[in-house]
Symmetry: C2
Subunit: 307 residues, 2 copies
């Protein structure tokens, strides 16, 4: 039983006549007869009474009419869904690390609503390693992660570069220091994200370049906790400029580095084997647009203070 056979069958059932049904099906009458006979042989049931003048459905034929209509109806719906659904809601699955997701994703959504772009955006905030695995596993169209990234099998496009700032409580001496570089952080207590955090690793790398091992007293699971601890004076941290928010706790101070200007690159990553669908392509375009027309892409791409 195949769909084309069911279409032929319904044509005969409709016209009660093999010859006319064949014409309407754009095949010859013998071909249509043969397919009906094939169906009858497969079912072990005669489907039509061949009376002289017309073909009349048998009981089995009546059953098959209902079934065939339902089957073909489902097929039509499915076909329509395949044609229309991607147009109605181009979907994209995007993963982003904790220090990027809360700032970049809202900017993308704002761009969409401002420019009347319809995009069903699914996001997944997680550690870089998990996101990369999901890119390999086919669960994500894009991952927004920090560089450097040594995954030669993946396509990597650096979206922008953002400066890292010192974050301390207002009462901390460094809140008003003139000179800020990594060397002055040598004896400070660090508040960092978890060990899987790429930002934390990067900060430790900067410390290493400044020839010291940071003393890490606090490992936090989320940015808000880092900020709160810093505001309370439990230690210092280093965060991207874009992490600054109007909802930050009272007494939290962001200070630009006066030397060294540490920064990090954020890249858009995809698997080359993954089909670049409409939604995925759209997201990439919007991401580049949100980053700004500035082709150097060397400054914070979205409003540092969204409020």
């Amino acid at each position: 039983m195949e769909l084309y056979q069911l279409r032929y069958f319904l044509a005969v059932a409709e016209y009660g006549n093999f010859t006319k049904a064949a014409q309407r099906s754009f095949i010859s009458q013998p071909s249509l007869s043969q397919q009906i006979l094939n169906l009858e042989e497969e079912f072990g049931q005669q489907l039509f009474h061949r009376l002289g003048r017309k073909a009349v459905l048998t009981e089995a034929g009546k059953i098959l009419v209902n079934g065939a209509q339902r089957i073909l109806s489902e097929a039509d719906h499915t076909l329509a869904a395949l044609k229309n659904d991607p147009l109605l809601g181009p979907e994209v699955h995007v993963g982003a690390i904790q220090t990027v997701a809360p700032f970049f994703i809202p900017a993308v959504l704002a761009y969409c609503s401002a420019n009347d772009v319809r995009l069903r955006l699914h996001t997944h905030e997680d550690f870089r390693r998990t996101l990369i695995e999901e890119v390999y596993g086919g669960k994500l169209d894009w991952a927004l992660v920090s560089m450097p990234l040594s995954e030669p099998r993946l396509q990597v496009e650096i979206l922008y570069s953002e400066p890292l700032w010192l974050v301390v409580g207002a009462s901390h001496p460094l809140a008003k220091a003139e000179k800020i570089n990594f060397s002055v952080l040598r004896n400070e207590t660090f508040i960092l994200l978890g060990e899987a955090s790429t930002l934390a690793s990067q900060i430790q790398r900067y410390c290493g370049e400044a020839d010291f091992e940071p003393r890490i007293d606090h490992r936090c699971g989320q940015l808000a906790t880092v900020k709160k601890f810093a505001a309370m004076g439990l230690g210092i941290s280093v965060l991207p400029q874009s992490a600054r928010s109007a909802t930050d706790p009272e007494g939290l101070v962001f200070r630009k580095f006066t030397e060294g200007s540490p920064s990090r690159d954020i890249a858009l990553v995809r698997h080359p084997g993954r089909h670049l669908g409409q939604g995925a392509g759209l997201f990439a375009q919007i991401a580049r647009a949100v980053v700004g027309p500035d082709s150097t892409r060397s400054r914070p791409p979205f409003p540092a203070n969204p409020a």
Copy 2:
């Protein structure tokens, strides 16, 4: 899009692997690949992300999974219905003339319940001409009509022959007459069924053979009216012996003809082009059994007095 392609597609979706899906589908891997590519070309949509390790559904692929499952599910249900339904309820459409239906059909149903035969019997009581048209039109498996019948294109099997009896009211002279033949009816008033009735025509034929034209004062639409009128003494009638019933009106007398023994043959008629399904075959067997093991089939086949 064809059903076999959808089966292949679902296999790939299930295993995430073209090679294994091909094995489970009992075809070679290139054949399966080709069919998936055909589907993708037809839809204008990629269905799988071909990542190195595994094949992962695209958004379009996910839509098709749902659709394909529904389509194939409908196909399975339809197939099951075609296999099971005819077994659960073998159906048959039978037409019978007015003088046969009220006696023969109950006998068939009684036989079914007595012998635990499951048969979905649809009956249609109507004039012979209408029944024959419906046999040609494919609406009936069988028609139970009286002979003679000149329809060379139909298959005719004489089921039984039943005597015709004189029917009069108890107060009528003929209720006690010694000699009863058609000649003594010459001056009687006849109560007959409508002009389309074959029994009425047959009675007129018998009258003609006895060399007189019957005086027909009453044309009735149904047997009960004929009996009632006869019981009231409005005239005489001639009915098959099997028409005798326990519920007949008071004072109705059935008299056997002492000469000539008029009778009529009842035949089972079918269209040779009509498929003889399980139900239709069953009905014919039962009809023959009800008529009785008596191969001569020359006597009333079912209880003359069902009560």
